[in-house]
């Protein structure tokens, strides 16, 4: 197990270098000139453009730019944005907010999604099951920004229960509504996934055996049905952590959350290579760690799975 873990961590190094190289190249290859864009609709003189390019190392060949960036990483220098802020500051302010939001969303979709899915699966074909299916279908088919704007308008503008946007320091009470919006689609998938899985397992041989053994209904459901039904759900949740961390751009925009999505979007638009690459590099690490955690969790859920040396 330890060796497996070590090997997986070791694998992350080439993936990390490869990913940053590719992304740096893609930003470099973006058409257009970030320096010209700084001047808005006005056309600057060539001399000042050359001076600015030199200041941001944009005049050097791609490989030199990339090596300069990589060299900086070893001293924890992630470069600076065009506004003169160190990229490490940007990372330190954006990631905790997005992480908080993603964790709230995961908590919401895991707890509510599994509970509702379990009930629906146990009462297959009944009223609760039917309404859970309809609601989840609705959530999957309506785009996130529609859900976001509607909830914001109803709960913040009309009822005034919560703030319309997330304030300074992103307090938890402001993040609850955005987290629900962000989790809505995944929540619906988890309900459906759990429900199907539970109802399948209810008819399995080992459940019949367990019931015949005289185990209580509660214990059969908890230990034999739920545990086996959770394997696909955990896989989904694992990949979803990554997706929620990086894919919150719509929700972040609606609720004015200064997280990862919006920062990266702005940086891409402005062609700020170091910002884009640093953010994406951290995202890559998050994806890899989340995947590793999922693989380790399998072993906990299914005793038949053992990791070889």
């Amino acid at each position: 197990m330890a060796w497996y873990f070590f090997r997986r961590v070791l694998q992350m190094i080439p993936v990390f270098i490869g990913a940053t190289f590719l992304i740096y190249f893609m930003v470099f290859a973006l058409p257009g000139d970030p320096v010209l864009a700084m001047f808005g609709d006005k056309t600057p003189s060539p001399a000042i453009v050359a001076e600015l390019r030199a200041q941001y190392n944009l005049d050097k060949p791609f490989i030199v730019q990339y090596l300069l960036y990589l060299g900086g990483l070893f001293t924890f220098d992630f470069g600076t944005s065009f506004s003169g802020r160190p990229v490490s500051d940007l990372l330190a302010s954006a990631f905790p907010i997005t992480f908080k939001l993603a964790m709230l969303a995961i908590a919401f979709e895991a707890i509510a999604g599994i509970a509702i899915g379990l009930f629906a699966g146990l009462r297959k074909g009944k009223l609760f099951d039917a309404s859970a299916l309809v609601v989840s279908l609705l959530l999957i088919s309506v785009p996130t920004f529609v859900i976001g704007f509607v909830l914001q308008y109803v709960f913040a503008v009309q009822l005034g229960w919560v703030n319309a946007t997330v304030g300074q320091g992103a307090p938890l009470k402001d993040l609850i509504l955005p987290a629900i919006v962000l989790a809505s689609v995944s929540f619906a998938y988890i309900v459906r996934l759990t429900r199907t899985s539970v109802s399948d397992n209810l008819g399995a041989d080992y459940v019949r055996t367990a019931t015949a053994k005289g185990l209580s209904r509660g214990r059969v459901v908890r230990v034999h049905v739920l545990r086996n039904s959770l394997i696909p759900v955990v896989t989904f949740l694992g990949t979803d952590i990554g997706a929620l961390m990086v894919g919150a751009i719509v929700t972040e925009g609606i609720f004015n959350i200064k997280g990862v999505g919006g920062t990266v979007y702005q940086a891409i638009i402005r062609g700020e290579g170091p910002t884009v690459v640093s953010f994406v590099a951290v995202m890559v690490i998050i994806f890899m760690v989340a995947n590793l955690l999922v693989d380790l969790l399998y072993a906990l859920l299914d005793p038949r799975i053992r990791y070889a040396k």
């Binding site: 973006l30 058409p31 257009g32 000139d33 970030p34 010209l36 864009a37 700084m38 001047f39 808005g40 609709d41 006005k42 056309t43 600057p44 003189s45 060539p46 001399a47 000042i48 001076e51 600015l52 065009f82 506004s83 003169g84 500051d89 940007l90 302010s93 954006a94 905790p96 992480f99 908080k100 964790m103 704007f149 913040a156 503008v157 005034g160 703030n163 319309a164 946007t165 304030g167 300074q168 320091g169 992103a170 307090p171 938890l172 230990v223 959770l230 925009g253 609606i254 609720f255 004015n256 200064k258 919006g262 920062t263 702005q266 891409i268 638009i269 062609g271 906990l300 859920l301 005793p303």
Partner: protein
């Protein structure tokens, strides 16, 4: 071991999650309170550059700089200028040398005095090539300035603490008018020791100062308090000003509706149709010094000489500006009848030849057919735009008008980002027309004409050149008599109406709104509210 594996896993996950959440929550503080102690909250965006006057050229940083600094003159809501730090301007006979006297009691918010050196040093810093300031070209009329090389502003001479003289490359009777722009603000001595640190923590002489050393919370907000050392015409009428940085106008508008934001200076496109109903008398719509056009470069096939003139007029007359302005922009635009803006002094809505800007599909077809006799049209007429901003709807509407009325292929040509679009325009690689527009730096007709249409001028992206036009604007800028000056500028614009280097479309109107808890919200000529006048109930 009889501990359930799943129970262990779930407990571990939950504990980790809780730890993370509680760890993050410890730094929480409340939202900026919209009510109480007279602080006005206003919509803002994170400044894209350090807060140095000569390196701030976009509105997000601009409105903060304007609140923190005071220049020689300031503009009122109508765009007229009044002395601020300056006491008097005395030109020589041909307006090439200006003797500027300062009021002697001005101080920066750190207590150091504002002297002639504060201006001269700041301007020299801004003009120096190695400092690569985005507003560098604003010093190009001062003697010694060189566009393409390191240069010293030899035209600036400090006489004593409250006097300095400025020598210009050519006479300019309007010189003081431009000095209210942020590029011309003074800097305290301490700024030059460490400009990088100064850009994060600026010290100014304006109506406001930073509330504390960490008043600028990046990406979140910046808090300003009234500057007690300020004694000019823009004294703060409120207890402070907090610009909250929004990533989109939609969320700012939601905050305005729910009472969390006091002043919003632009209504999001989605809400243009309803904001007057939703805000009632708290909605603002007024003209501003900004216009929207598209450039047809002369280097394009079929757009030079006599043929080009006919085709430009035909295209202009094939566009139903009133209707598109109403349908696409819901009244946030008004049809252009000249090349400047109705809020700028000298505006003339009765220029000779302005019928070329009126919708006339029959005439358009005739002119196009006439041009076809010179050389038959082939290909597609395109209008380039950057699709990372809201341009697609109007470009499509305009292209469709041209297509239907002239019977040719016309379409929008999107560029993915603004950077890509500007690179194509600057390198002259656009293969068709390109969207354009001008926002005045200072309230003057010359600023709408000289830098955009003058031969070889910096923002003359269509490479337009007409000696007659150059002569008229040069003469106009030398006139001291206002009637004569505006007559020259009108005559120059009548030449533009014949040549149509750009196709004028709309003047942009300021659209905005304010909350129930503030009063006296007045928008200035440049679409920015006069924040210092806003009072809190």
């Amino acid at each position: 071991m009889k501990i359930s594996r799943i129970g262990l896993g779930v407990t571990a996950l939950a504990t980790a999650g809780l730890l993370v959440l509680s760890g993050c929550a410890s730094g929480d503080t409340d939202k900026p309170d919209a009510s109480g102690n007279g602080v006005v909250t206003a919509n803002g965006t994170e400044p894209q550059n350090p807060l140095i006057p000569t390196s701030t050229n976009e509105v997000g940083g601009g409105r903060i700089i304007d609140s923190l600094f005071a220049g020689l003159v300031y503009y009122d809501a109508k765009g007229e200028y009044h002395n601020e730090v300056a006491q008097s301007f005395e030109p020589n006979a041909d307006f090439t040398e200006w003797n500027i006297e300062l009021n002697n009691d001005w101080k920066f918010s750190d207590g150091t005095p504002v002297t002639a050196n504060s201006f001269v040093d700041a301007w020299s810093y801004g003009a120096s090539l190695k400092n690569a300031q985005l507003n560098r070209y604003f010093f190009n009329m001062i003697e010694g300035y060189q566009e393409e090389a390191q240069s010293d502003l030899t035209g600036l001479t400090v006489q004593d603490d409250t006097h300095f003289t400025v020598k210009l490359n050519s006479g300019d009777p309007e010189f003081p008018l431009r000095l209210g722009y942020s590029a011309y603000y003074p800097l305290p001595e301490s700024a030059f020791d460490d400009m990088k640190a100064f850009g994060q923590n600026p010290i100014g002489n304006g109506p406001y100062k930073l509330a504390s050393d960490d008043a600028w919370e990046h990406d979140v907000q910046i808090k300003l308090l009234p500057n007690e050392n300020y004694d000019g015409g823009r004294k703060a009428a409120n207890g402070g000003l907090t610009f909250v940085f929004y990533s989109g106008l939609d969320s700012a508008y939601a905050d305005l509706l729910s009472g969390n934001l006091d002043v919003l200076d632009e209504i999001p496109e989605n809400s243009l149709e309803v904001y007057r109903d939703e805000l009632g008398d708290r909605a603002v719509t007024q003209p501003a010094a900004r216009n929207q056009t598209f450039t047809i470069p002369e280097r394009l096939d079929h757009f030079a000489g006599e043929e080009g003139t006919l085709r430009r007029a035909a295209i202009s007359m094939a566009i139903d500006r009133d209707k598109i302005g109403e349908v696409v922009f819901k009244g946030a635009r008004s049809t252009m009848v000249d090349f400047t803006s109705p809020v700028i002094a000298g505006f003339n809505d009765n220029l000779k030849g302005k019928d070329v800007l009126e919708y006339n599909p029959t005439k358009a077809k005739e002119l196009w057919a006439e041009a076809d006799k010179i050389s038959p049209w082939s290909g597609t007429f395109t209008i380039g735009y950057n699709s990372d901003s809201n341009h697609q709807s109007w470009v499509d509407a305009v292209s469709n008008g041209i297509k239907d009325n002239l019977g040719i292929n016309a379409e929008g040509k999107p560029y993915a980002t603004f950077a890509e679009f500007r690179a194509a325009v600057t390198d002259r690689t656009t293969t068709g027309a390109a969207r354009a527009g001008w926002q005045a730096d200072y309230p003057s007709q010359y600023n709408f004409l000289g830098p955009v249409f003058g031969t070889g001028a910096g923002s003359n992206d269509g490479d337009y050149s007409n000696p007659e036009f150059d002569k008229l604007i040069a003469e106009g800028s030398q006139q001291t008599d206002e009637t004569k000056k505006y007559a020259d500028f009108s005559a120059a614009q009548e030449i533009l109406l014949e040549d149509l280097p750009v196709i004028p479309l709309w003047y942009q109107n300021a659209t905005g709104g304010f909350s129930e808890s503030v009063d006296n919200v007045v928008f200035g000529w440049e679409m920015v509210p006069l924040y210092y006048q806003v009072t809190k109930k």
